[in-house]
Symmetry: C2
Subunit: 150 residues, 2 copies
DNA sequence: TGTCCAAATGCGAAATATTCTCATTCTTAT
DNA sequence: ATAAGAATGAGAATATTTCGCATTTGGACA
C-alpha cells in the first residue's frame, strides 16, 4: 500500500479519490482528482461536459474542456460515471453510486428524478430473450411535467 | 374535395401523401412529398437525416440536406414521424404508423427490433404518478448483442 | 530524493451534426 | 393567371465532441 507522510509521526493513506482512480487503472493526475472530487461534491447529479467545465471554472478549478471530455469518457469506461442521452442529443454524466436506476425528466424545467422498478427490469430480460438478444444495457427515460410546472 | 384532371374523362383524387400533408397543415410541396413517399417505401425503418438524404440522392430524388432536417422536424411535430436518440448521439427518424413501441438495438451490427410491452407501459404510469409527473412521452431502448452477432 | 519516460494535459484545429440566413422558387387562394 | 407568403437550396454558422501535437506530470526505480 502506498503511504504518504504529511505530518511528523502521522501516517495518512492516500485520498479516497486517489485510491478510486488507481483501482480503476487510472493515474491519479491532478485534473482527474479535481473532476472526481467535483462530481462527488456537487448537488447536481446530471451534468453535461460543459456544465462540469463551467462549474469547475467558477470554483477556481480550471481543467481544459478537452480533458473534461477525455476524463469523463475514461471514468465511464472505468465504471465511475454513467453517460445518458436525454432529449437534446448531447451527453449527460452522473457519478455512478452503484445502484442502477432510470430517469423521469420534466420537459418544462429539466428536473430529473431517479427511479428503479424491478418489474420493468424483469420484463426487459423477457423481451431480450424473446428477441434472441443478450442484454448489455438499457436506457429508459420518462418525459413529463413535474408537479412544480403544472 | 380537390379534384385534378389528368386524362380526358378521368377524375383522379390527389395522392394519399398530398392529403396526409394537408391534413397535417403542411403545404404539399415536392420535397415534402418526395420525403414522405421515400419513408413509406423504404424497408429500413430507422434512419438518420443523412441516411434519408443519401438514399434519396441514390434513387435520383435530390432534396437539400437542410430541407431534409426541416421537413423531418415538421413531420415530427405533425405526428407523421417519430424521432429517437439511440446511442451515438444523432437523431434517428421513423415513419409513425400509429402503434407506439420501444426498441432493442444490437450494439454490434446496429439491428433494431421493435417491441411493445403492456406491463412496462403500465408501470411507467405508476412511476410518473408516484413522482407527481404528467407523462408526455417516454423512450426505452434496450442494448444488446443480437443472435446473428453472438 | 532525483531522474527518466510513458502517459496525460492544454490548446487550437478538425470533425460531426444540426440550424440559420437569405436570395430564389414554388404553392395555393383568389 | 396573378400575387403574397411559404418553402427551398446553398452555404455560413453553431454546437458538441474529438484529434494532433508540443509541453508537462506522475510515479517507478535508481
Ligand atoms: Mn441518475
Ligand atoms: Mn421503431
Ligand atoms: Zn418541472
Ligand atoms: Zn447484431
Amino acid at each position: 500500500m502506498t503511504i504518504k507522510h504529511y505530518l511528523p509521526g502521522i501516517m495518512m493513506k492516500d485520498s479516497n479519490e486517489t485510491n478510486d482512480l488507481q483501482k480503476a487503472g487510472l493515474k491519479a493526475t491532478l485534473p482527474r482528482l479535481k473532476i472526481l472530487k467535483f462530481l462527488e461534491s456537487t448537488d447536481i447529479r446530471h451534468l453535461s461536459a460543459e456544465d462540469v467545465y463551467k462549474s469547475m471554472l467558477d470554483s477556481g478549478d480550471e481543467v481544459g474542456l478537452a480533458t473534461i471530455y477525455r476524463v469523463l469518457t475514461q471514468f465511464e469506461s472505468a465504471g465511475l460515471v454513467t453517460r445518458h442521452h436525454f432529449e437534446g442529443g448531447h451527453s449527460v454524466f452522473e457519478l455512478n453510486e452503484g445502484k442502477h436506476h432510470d430517469h423521469i425528466v420534466c420537459v418544462k424545467c429539466g428536473k430529473v428524478e431517479e427511479f428503479y422498478d424491478e418489474t420493468i427490469e424483469e420484463r426487459q430480460h423477457v423481451i431480450a430473450d424473446k428477441n434472441g438478444f443478450n442484454i448489455t444495457d438499457h436506457a429508459l427515460t420518462i418525459y413529463g411535467i413535474c408537479s412544480d410546472c403544472k
